[in-house]
Symmetry: D2
Subunit: 407 residues, 4 copies
Amino acid sequence: MPSVRRVSHEFLQRRGLTTVFGNPGSNELPFLARLPAGFRYVLGLHEGAVVGMADGYAQASGRPVLVNLHAASGSGNAMGALTNAVASRTPLVVVAGQQVRPAVGPEANLANVDAPALMKPLVGWAAEPTCAEDVPRALAQAVFEAELRRRPTYLSVPYDDWAAEAGENSRAVLDRRVERASAPSADQGRRLAERVAAARRPALVLGGDIDSAGLFDSAVRLAERLGGPVWAAPSLFRLPFPNRHPLFRGVLPAGIAPISAALEGHDLVLVLGAPVFRYHEYLPGRYLPPGTELVQVTEDASAAARAPMGEALVADPGAVIELLLERLGSPAATAGPYRPVPEPAVADDGVRLHPEQVFAALRDELPEDTAYVVRVDLDERRLVAPDGPAAARLVLLPGGRWPQISG
Amino acid sequence: MPSVRRVSHEFLQRRGLTTVFGNPGSNELPFLARLPAGFRYVLGLHEGAVVGMADGYAQASGRPVLVNLHAASGSGNAMGALTNAVASRTPLVVVAGQQVRPAVGPEANLANVDAPALMKPLVGWAAEPTCAEDVPRALAQAVFEAELRRRPTYLSVPYDDWAAEAGENSRAVLDRRVERASAPSADQGRRLAERVAAARRPALVLGGDIDSAGLFDSAVRLAERLGGPVWAAPSLFRLPFPNRHPLFRGVLPAGIAPISAALEGHDLVLVLGAPVFRYHEYLPGRYLPPGTELVQVTEDASAAARAPMGEALVADPGAVIELLLERLGSPAATAGPYRPVPEPAVADDGVRLHPEQVFAALRDELPEDTAYVVRVDLDERRLVAPDGPAAARLVLLPGGRWPQISG
Amino acid sequence: MPSVRRVSHEFLQRRGLTTVFGNPGSNELPFLARLPAGFRYVLGLHEGAVVGMADGYAQASGRPVLVNLHAASGSGNAMGALTNAVASRTPLVVVAGQQVRPAVGPEANLANVDAPALMKPLVGWAAEPTCAEDVPRALAQAVFEAELRRRPTYLSVPYDDWAAEAGENSRAVLDRRVERASAPSADQGRRLAERVAAARRPALVLGGDIDSAGLFDSAVRLAERLGGPVWAAPSLFRLPFPNRHPLFRGVLPAGIAPISAALEGHDLVLVLGAPVFRYHEYLPGRYLPPGTELVQVTEDASAAARAPMGEALVADPGAVIELLLERLGSPAATAGPYRPVPEPAVADDGVRLHPEQVFAALRDELPEDTAYVVRVDLDERRLVAPDGPAAARLVLLPGGRWPQISG
Amino acid sequence: MPSVRRVSHEFLQRRGLTTVFGNPGSNELPFLARLPAGFRYVLGLHEGAVVGMADGYAQASGRPVLVNLHAASGSGNAMGALTNAVASRTPLVVVAGQQVRPAVGPEANLANVDAPALMKPLVGWAAEPTCAEDVPRALAQAVFEAELRRRPTYLSVPYDDWAAEAGENSRAVLDRRVERASAPSADQGRRLAERVAAARRPALVLGGDIDSAGLFDSAVRLAERLGGPVWAAPSLFRLPFPNRHPLFRGVLPAGIAPISAALEGHDLVLVLGAPVFRYHEYLPGRYLPPGTELVQVTEDASAAARAPMGEALVADPGAVIELLLERLGSPAATAGPYRPVPEPAVADDGVRLHPEQVFAALRDELPEDTAYVVRVDLDERRLVAPDGPAAARLVLLPGGRWPQISG
């Protein structure tokens, strides 16, 4: 009968989770023993870096990624970076080592007492299997929950479990597949399309999910069909729209009053793939101008439920864009050419380099599909978001506002 | 400017949550002050009964229902009944009173210290608004989360909040609506239909969700189209199929080995609206017979993720049934007439009444749309599930196995 | 080698936890198998009653008591009564059944998913052992934590663990003993005694802990030595002082302003065995009159830490009373005779019985050591606390204010 | 009326928490405004370093220390270092910024959703005050809980609270003091002393708490009175005994079987200020040799409750040492001179420096009261613990085993 480890490795292979990011300690070594050919282990020497790399890899590949962490202190080191992964809705599957089963209750050194409780408030789904036999199923659950919730999950495994026999049913996990259906029903689709078609001055607000889901180009087609202005949602983590497109108005300011001012005059605001809204500075005011209605389309049910105003449809934004493109007529006019790439600002003294010069040089030299991650200084408000092709996710060039990775 | 209470009452009116079940204490009275005409308050003298009534009312009406509980001890009393509501996936919105804000930290009498932490492990979503101004929005969130998750939610509100001013934005909550789209995409639908059409000996397993969602009759149409046997899923909370229908095989036994034996010979098992599976007795064995594949369709993402075998599609079972009815050809043969209502068993001594006689008499005398709730004794295995029309949810008549409400 | 069950039973025998209160389901039966002679199982048909009986038994006996509950729903039913046990600081050891280990993760029927998380917010210490071998040690931990914290604890045990072999070290648990030392140091004692001796008009406030710890008579000796007035702390759960004693002033009103008014004119308030203070009605005001200092002595570290004013010494009130009796001089004057038992009030109409008549009749007929539990109606403010000897814990006779069991 | 901030600053001044370690973001700035003269803010650019510095400062000073962290991500970054502080029982008071109250529920950027839930599993006490008025009292509670539990605590404060009015009662917090009494009662003391006196071959095991509590020299006196061997407890975080003392036997190996072997032949093992035991490698065996009894004295009630064998007295080890020194007779013989400082090992090639040479050079050059923190490589088993005077806490010189700071 195969070991828990062998079945788990095979499950990970079948699901394509063969690039592992980690920083192991003694509790984790038994999982790594006999790792089959084809696995790649990317070592980081601090868990913040480990999770950051895994987050980027998952965002770039669009697939869940395995992270291998040490018990309480290693997992603790990762929690700052994991908050970013939660905000970016990245499906990381964190597997952490636990002491051997008899040593957990007496709190032996490196025991992670009540390990799921430590992580659950942050990641939403966390577990430690009740026995070795349940490990492969629980690992599959961790992968599926991460995909379905688009959020990290956490599995703590006592290290004596990996060598245990997996049980006769364990191979059933190898054939497991889980998908979520998320198209609107015919009636929901019709109502939404009629409403958008009836709007006199619609505006579009796009969130980072649009780019995560590969909808950068679809969003351009929808915007050109609607003909109205396009904003990126505030507190953005990925750029969802070309920043030199003539319809693009930049990133909405992250305050109640300024967003209301920005949306003045629009009878319908369609928000795709974003919370409504992730404000930052507390600038009180009316949520929306009088006469403005708002419809949010997001796969994030929690974001739909907690929003303070507007209607929400919990659905795949991609399915909704397709549906609208099908049902809406042709655009009234073409959108016009992209705005030119601006000249970078130059430092006053003519000697030092201005940051925009640095970024412009990077843009000209780096490969087209380079992805950039930027920690934006809150004061650099005049820096603007990148345009770049859809292939260059997170691309950050002078010429627009900058996505904020974190505050 | 309106009070928090007035906006909250108006929101509940608009959403149709005007029948309130509760057992209030002093913390809850300010919420009940000035309750508008049209609200109905159903008082229970123990929270177990309060939640039980609300659960039944929500299941019968198919709508979320407001429950009004006292702080820690009242909420504590409700937790047994709430576990049933969690298992039945009933959207109860529990609003509990909290001491006035300055009295919570010092743990005044009737303060519910860290109230959300007490309930969150059970209900999944629990909160206490950070300030009075946020109460109406949080109440809306509690309602939407209950609907989207089909699970109870819990909101703790300091009682001095109700009389506070609601703030200029508070009325935005009155126009909020949240829906979930859950139809499969065109591609997902096509793949599923082809697979079902290709099955030589398909079997259908139906869960309580089928009846909760009003799909009792649709399930009959699908079963007759497939022509194979139909089981109810084990550990059932509602009857999803007529128990005298010729295709009905009863409730699956709640053990691994006996389910595997029951499904012997079927190449495809389609499970709609149920976990896979809610076993009870630990009777080890193979999950499925060799050559049998299983596809689960459920709206419960967690049930999909944790299942030990098979594939899963997280989708509205109703949409999937419609899709299959559209795409599958006509049935080969008609299903034949319903089985006759069995004569009730008679007590051995000819003097006492056998339980089946009691139920048969109740069936004959009570109105057709009566709903029954039964606490099944685990030893009464030979009792069988009811048939009844779809209108009679939870109907329990002799002639089949009984749904288990709890163990 | 002995089974987990046998070692556990023997541990409970040695510690004297042989009277078990419970309401078992199928998960609990394996624990009850082969229960040795000398155990007594008190069955209740609702967990509220089970915990209530166990709470009273533990309070009356002054010893930790075992409670045997069913998984999620049974434990849920108990949570209201457990909030009272938390408030009364009663060391109940709740042992609940869990499904067999392989059935927990897939959420089989009667599995208690993440059982400790459900109870921990309420009871403070909750666990499910990581393997069968750890059960006896974890059971001992549950008993010791309950004693050390004076609070219920919760242990969830998969029912397949009881028959497992206990391991060679398991009998080490049989000789375990844990005590807490809690006398003040010499210096702490001296400072406190000097301060009390120097007070011109000291007042004494006593909490329910005084009676729980068997200090009813010691408190009388201390009060007579101090010569000042004595109050019972608000939101009381046990009577700590004879209610007809000439120095007794009744139960402090449970509001900020009225307590401040009651303590007017005292330079030092010594609070023994009570929180400072468990207010109920929100009646704002100054915490203390000008010139009044407050010193709290309690074994409850959390109550000491969260109090809004005064100094605190986390110590055994009994040790502190002994220390003060040793160091303070003799009282200035004797306290005088007890007040007479008041005549019970009579109903206006001369026909019906007034509640005080009922209680007076009960007092005259029942054995002297009867303990009473009363759910006090909040409006019956004029009802007054009992006197009774220390042996009659919780005694409730007309002639004083009533302890509140819960609100 | 003073602001919440002013009262809080004044409370911190009175309690001596004026050296603040932190890494603030925008949520934290309002707390830092108008920081009175006399406060010192030590900035770290990663929260791991911030908490590490604060931990060392608190250990060296023996006092609670304030840590100022950012919301979710900043607090997350700190969690690895906080697990070390939990293991070292260091009283850190972490105050973290939260978004303004109305922005928390809608999850504005930098809102720390359910902040206490994130930290509570790790730190044990975490809170977010329910209103601004409660902030000063809650801050005091955080300080007192940290002192009483010897563990970090966490307080989340919405940043709009600091400028709010504090309320008339707020200054009551300035006079608060909380102490714990922890001497054994006369009877407990007598029993323990008799037992130790009656032991034929007693052994002493000392934990890091001995040095944290300033009992390094007292422990030497006790050991010389007993005349038996002395070990440091396994998984040590501070050196509790001079490593060249003739009675010192080094650090106990962190496995069940080797500890049992080491203690062979002793009828009584007295463990002071340590868990029993913090094993690391899983090396099964008997917990204790036949005929060996164990008594643990610790202030950590949880460590006492969870130990798998032996008796425990939850008490101040310092009070117990004093008591034993008073009651035990004079030692039979003097202990003899300290062992000489060993020559450091030399690298094989005669060119490179051996690590012991580096440490020897450091020892000779650094001031006498330097404290060392070492991350011990698990393979460097032959390195041995330092001797050093009591003043040099954590001192690490060649010549003994090394304390492990973490694994």
